[in-house]
């Protein structure tokens, strides 16, 4: 029994530093992503998205951005066909991915769309995020694809993606709330 107790104490001593190191840097400011408004407008047979999102980075994400880490913000839009007695069916899913980068010499923030390749630079993070959170007339889906006699609902969400990082870091970021930036689903019925 004494030996077992000694063994447990030794294991605790071994694990304690790792646990302490793990629990460090947990006092960061939390960020938030929020979809303020969103709507689809039929323009020339194409449903176009207009949306306003408020994107506030957490202190940790901000620290990473200022340290040269490229952040990836992802907007996910889902078109769901509503069924009466059956589970709803996902008709289409659109993912808009943007990269946010800080350039140290010019001290400007770059917003780069991975979907279109468009990029723009901003003097402040605020203007970069503000620009990022403003979606205007973005073609989403051809209306002809949607069934005329069906009801659809649309939902939109913004999230800070960590997929681009290496797996070990993803594993570490997974356990940290500062990297878990994700808005609630903003959902509305498609008016046709």
């Amino acid at each position: 029994m004494k030996k077992i107790a000694t063994l447990l104490v030794a294991a605790s001593l071994v694990l304690l530093p790792a646990m302490l190191a793990w629990s460090q840097d947990n006092s960061n400011r939390a960020g938030s992503f929020e979809v303020r408004s969103a709507s689809l407008t039929l323009v020339d047979g194409v449903q176009e998205l207009d949306a306003r999102l408020q994107l506030i980075l957490s202190a940790e994400a901000l620290k990473a951005l200022n340290s040269g880490v490229i952040l990836t913000v992802e907007f996910t839009l889902e078109v769901i066909r509503v069924k009466r007695f059956l589970p709803d069916d996902g008709e289409a899913e659109l993912s808009l991915t943007y990269e946010l980068e800080f350039l140290p010499i010019s001290q400007r923030y770059i917003v780069r769309s991975l979907n279109s390749g468009d990029r723009d630079s901003f003097a402040t993070l605020y203007s970069a995020l503000n620009n990022l959170g403003r979606v205007e007339s973005l073609p989403v889906i051809d209306d002809a694809v949607l069934k005329a006699d069906s009801d659809y609902r649309i939902r939109l969400r913004a999230s800070l993606s960590t997929r681009q990082y290496s797996a070990p870091f993803r594993f570490l970021f997974f356990w940290r709330d500062e990297w878990d930036l994700k808005s609630e689903w903003h959902e509305w019925p498609l008016e046709r």
Binding site: A21, L103, I105, A167, P168
Partner: protein, 740 residues
């Protein structure tokens, strides 16, 4: 045995595979942590596998430790040794592992920290600052140039605006200059790009700043240019009517250097940002490695100790089994090492013990069989056999000994023979004789002993011999004795039979001529002689005839005694026969009272009715003759069922209240010509005895305590009982044979 080997091989292969997989997973974990492998994306899966491995090992280890604790508490053989070995192994493994872990973490942390240095960081910061400063200078110059262009353009008439703008663009080295009017409308533009390309639009941030009457300048690293924007005033009233936006390209060399500095700075800062995470990552990987190694070591120690101790446990279990007497215990040899040698030696030992045990058991069973045979023989022997310790304690005794000495010696094994003999006259005399010899130091002696008891005397031929003993135990004696009373009696009976036969032959023949001669003398001379002489003749011839008749009777009696006709066995009612005989004597004898008592439910007797009738006649006549001079003579005749050594029999008891037998002659009352009566021939009871023995019955006589004599006869009830009694009393068979 084979299944055990296969099982062990299976678990061995499984364990080796597990260890190989664990090592491979650890290797992959290390590789992915190092970010050099393509398996980086599988890091989480590999980590998960390793953590599952840790948990599995933890469960196995805890389970095994718990089992070991249970064994320790239950004081199972080998548990203490196993615990000691596990402790030793774990101690040997844990200390280096913890030390390695500690220093690994330390080295990794310091190694990662060494990637970063204040000097490098300061250099990069300075490089950034320098780049920024250089760009600031350039930006100021370009901004100043833009302001100058805007001022000069203010005075240009609209129709020459484009021309002047182009001139100024070329002079200033700008790649594009555009004049925006109100509402960001393009008034004029000049660009070194193709004419088809549109001029850059005015960005919100530019507009916002210019509307506040502020100058705008920024370095656009993406486009490798400096963008400036200044207000554009009206030529007439100097009112701000638009914006002049200019793009000044950065040379490729400077742009490349700026990109390089920027990239290096970002990489360094990114690495700096990842530093803590990297430390955690390596610490986590190391912790997993440590736990895997630690738990693997403990589990390995448990398995190894169990495997090492298993042969010892088997040996302990085998030894206990041998101690319990199970000599067939065989252990499987674990290996060819010293333990294997020990196990093989144990197996050899148990095999020899088993062989010895089997031989001992065989010998014991042979001895037991011999002993049982001997006991059967002794039990069936009519010869008494008593084995004694040197202090005359009974070691064994057979039933015949008990029967001869009239004491239950079989149930008194272990008791002292002299102590038992108290109150047992036959045994007492026997012990006295034996003691005399033993006190004289005679261990080998032979003697004929005459024992006198209440029912008569018994003649024993007795032989004693010393039993073989070893040096430690004192030797005893075995006394063999035979009751030869019956044999002597038979010899006597045979002698008497021979005498009777010769008497009948030698005496009876002349009697008839004597009688005839006497009767002739009487007939011829009685009437010729004078009265006096005639009377003498008459009396003499009468006496001769009378005595000849008497002699004839006597000779006939002897003849009857010597010659036994064939038995006529038949089933008949003894009750009726007894009534018939007794009634005959009741009618003849008025002075004697004859009482007949017969048990109810008396079975029929299977015997020679004539002989039984003669037995009853002789006994009653004998009793009547004994009561001749007695008044109030009473004869009691009792007939009932009985058993002789568990054989069904009928007992006939004839008792009288006469003078009884003479003291000392009780044992000879059945001898021929032994009588105490004046009229008796002395053959009555001898014939009775002979008839009884012909029926395999027993007869004994004694004096009654209240006076008188009593004779008891026990006759087997049927042929089967007769056979049984004949078998039990073999002496009778000999007698019967002799007499036959």
């Amino acid at each position: 045995m084979a299944s055990r080997t296969i099982k062990r091989l299976f678990y061995g292969v499984l364990g080796a595979l597990g260890v190989a997989l664990a090592l491979f997973a650890l290797y992959l974990l290390g590789e992915t942590t190092d970010r050099t492998a393509d398996l980086e994306s599988q890091y989480i899966n590999i980590l998960f596998v390793n953590i599952v491995g840790v948990l599995a090992l933890l469960a196995l280890t805890v389970g095994n430790l718990w089992r070991l604790l249970g064994e320790f508490r239950n004081r199972q053989p080998g548990a203490r040794l196993k615990a000691r070995m596990v402790g030793m192994f774990v101690g040997l493994a844990v200390v280096p592992l913890v030390i390695v872990f500690y220093f690994s973490v330390k080295f990794i942390n310091s190694g990662i920290d060494n990637w970063f240095s204040v000097e490098v960081e300061k250099g990069l910061d300075d490089a950034i600052a320098l780049s920024r400063a250089a760009m600031e200078t350039r930006k100021r110059n370009d901004l100043a140039m833009t302001v100058k262009i805007a001022d000069r353009l203010t005075d240009v008439v609209p129709r020459r605006l484009i021309f002047e703008l182009s001139m100024m663009r070329r002079e200033s080295g700008a790649s594009e200059i555009t004049i925006f009017g109100r509402n960001s409308r393009i008034i004029a533009t000049s660009s070194d790009r193709a004419a088809s390309s549109l001029p850059s639009e005015l960005k919100d941030e530019v507009l916002l700043q210019v509307r506040q009457n502020r100058l705008f300048v920024s370095f656009d690293e993406l486009e490798s240019e400096i963008r400036t924007a200044v207000p554009f005033a009206s030529r007439t009233n100097r009112e701000i009517i638009g914006v002049v936006q200019a793009h000044f390209p950065i040379s490729e060399r400077i742009s490349a250097m700026a990109d390089s500095v920027s990239s290096s700075f970002n990489d360094y800062k990114t690495a700096l940002y990842y530093r803590d995470s990297l430390k955690r990552l390596f610490s986590l990987t190391l912790t997993v490695v440590l736990l895997l190694s630690l738990l693997g070591s403990i589990y390995g120690a448990l398995v190894l100790s169990r495997r090492l101790v298993a042969p010892i446990e088997d040996l302990v279990a085998g030894t206990r089994a041998v101690a319990r007497g199970n000599f067939d215990t065989r252990l499987s040899a674990p290996s060819r090492d010293e333990l294997g040698f020990l196990v093989n030696s144990f197996n050899d030992m148990t095999q020899r013990l088993s062989t010895a045990s089997r031989q001992a058991t065989l010998s014991q069973s042979l001895v037991e069989a011999e002993r049982a045979n001997l006991e059967v023989i002794l039990a069936r022997l009519s010869t008494g056999v008593v084995s004694l310790e040197s202090d005359l304690t009974i070691r064994t005794a057979n039933p015949a000994a008990s029967a001869i000495l009239n004491v239950d010696l079989e149930n008194k094994v272990g008791q002292s023979l002299p102590d038992i003999s108290v109150g047992e006259p036959l045994l007492e005399q026997f012990v006295d004789v034996a003691r005399v010899h033993l006190q004289d130091g005679e261990t080998e002696w032979r003697e004929q002993i005459v024992l006198r008891g209440e029912v008569g005397r018994r003649v024993l031929t007795c032989a004693c011999t010393a039993l073989p003993g070893d040096e430690e135990t004192e030797s005893g004696f075995v006394v063999v004795f035979d009751d030869i009373t019956a044999l002597l009696q038979a010899q006597r009976d045979a002698a008497w039979g021979e005498v009777a036969r010769r008497l009948a032959h030698e005496i009876k023949n002349p009697l008839t001529p004597i009688q005839l001669s006497a009767e002739r003398l009487r007939r011829r001379y009685l009437h010729t002689l004078e009265a006096g002489e005639a009377e003498v003749l008459d009396r003499a011839t009468h006496t001769i005839v009378q005595q000849v008749e008497a002699m004839k009777e006597m000779v006939n009696a002897f003849s009857d005694y010597a010659r036994a006709p064939d038995m006529d066995i038949d089933r008949f009612s003894l009750e009726a026969l007894a009534h018939e005989v007794v009634d005959l004597y009741r009618a003849q004898e008025s002075d004697v009272s004859i009482v007949l008592k017969i048990d109810a439910n008396l079975p029929e007797l299977e015997a020679d009715a004539g002989r039984v009738r003669q037995i009853l006649h002789n006994l009653i006549r004998n009793a009547i003759e004994a009561l001749e001079n007695e008044t109030n003579g009473v004869i009691e005749v009792k007939i009932g069922s009985t058993e002789v050594l568990e054989v069904e029999a009928i007992q006939i008891v004839v008792a009288d209240n006469g003078p009884g037998f003479q003291t000392g002659s009780v044992s000879q009352v059945f001898d021929p010509y032994v009588t105490t009566k004046p009229k008796g021939t002395g053959l009555g009871l001898a014939i009775v005895k002979k008839l009884v023995e012909e029926h395999a019955g027993t007869i004994d006589a004694e004096n009654r305590d209240e006076g008188g004599a009593i004779i008891r006869i026990k006759l087997p009830v049927n042929e089967a009982a007769r056979e049984a009694m004949t078998a039990m009393l073999p002496g009778r068979v000999e007698q019967r044979r002799e007499r036959a």
